[in-house]
Subunit: 138 residues, 2 copies
DNA sequence: TAACTAGTGCAACAGAAGTGCATTTATTGA
DNA sequence: TCAATAAATGCACTTCTGTTGCACTAGTTA
């Protein structure tokens, strides 16, 4: 049993061939991926299967969904520092206006946000847009 | 010439009947509105007209678009404190998980966010989700 | 092995966003 | 004032993303 298979089972996800492939793909990418990205990477796979795999991964906290403001859902593996389970203390995301890629900045936590009286904050989504390290050329 | 007509012309938007109505609608609502909201408020109007009116308003800085993470674009009038023009110093938005409405918290500015070396921050989108003042009951 | 459960493939649908083009309305200037 | 021009609107259609229903297959369990 491989490392990936163990990881999946730890999250109560049965390690099917497709799931292992998708997990590998996500692990190799350093950026958040959209469903269509996976779709074009696995031309032979069915879109629905990929879709449901992502949903399962999300539900079982293997990946977290990212709303980067493009209108397209992105997904990235939850790593240490992700803290998806507790829905608190989340990291921020960076979307590059040049290469259009979105990355997790897991080491950058979202600061405490004050809201007016009467409002109850449950969670926070923070996306910084600009130029990423690869594109800024430095 | 009414106040609204003046406002539209100040932004280089010709004050047609439809535009004035939509502006009024936006001004009366305290929450951010989606295209479909306007659509149902003006049953007789054409969706494309409403769509293009919002685009024009956005382009001319009469409204700002809000991405609240629901996947549906919302729009709200730019007021003093909005600062859309300079794409900096923006306010945060609050999305209620109960009533599903999104409001501008114009008085609440987005704090300065640090990004890693090599990354250049151009703008920031911050959405707090939770329970709004009306729904929290206090 | 039989019964059951989970995963996959295929088809179809829904909603939002966007485009092309003809028609109507408003503006301009001869 | 009226023709030429430009802007706004209405209608039809398309694309894209996400989502669901259902039949079939593979895997698990008793
Ligand atoms: Mn992330
Ligand atoms: Mn706002
Ligand atoms: Zn980039
Ligand atoms: Zn509410």
């Amino acid at each position: 049993m491989t490392e990936i298979e163990k990881t999946l089972e730890n999250h109560q996800v049965r390690p099917t061939a497709m799931r292992i492939l998708i997990y590998k793909y996500l692990a190799e990418k350093e950026v958040a991926v959209a469903l269509t990205d996976i779709e074009s990477a696995f031309a032979k796979a069915e879109r629905t299967t990929l879709y449901r795999t992502l949903k399962t991964f999300e539900e079982k906290k293997i990946v977290h969904q990212i709303d980067d403001g493009t209108g397209i859902s992105k997904y990235a593996l939850c790593e240490s520092g992700c803290n998806c389970e507790i829905d608190q203390d989340l990291h921020l995301h960076f979307h590059c206006n040049n290469c259009n890629e979105t990355v997790c900045l897991t080491e950058h936590k979202i600061p405490q946000i004050k809201v007016p009286d009467g409002f109850v904050s449950e969670n926070v989504n923070l996306v910084v847009k600009g130029i990423c390290d690869k594109c800024s050329g430095q």
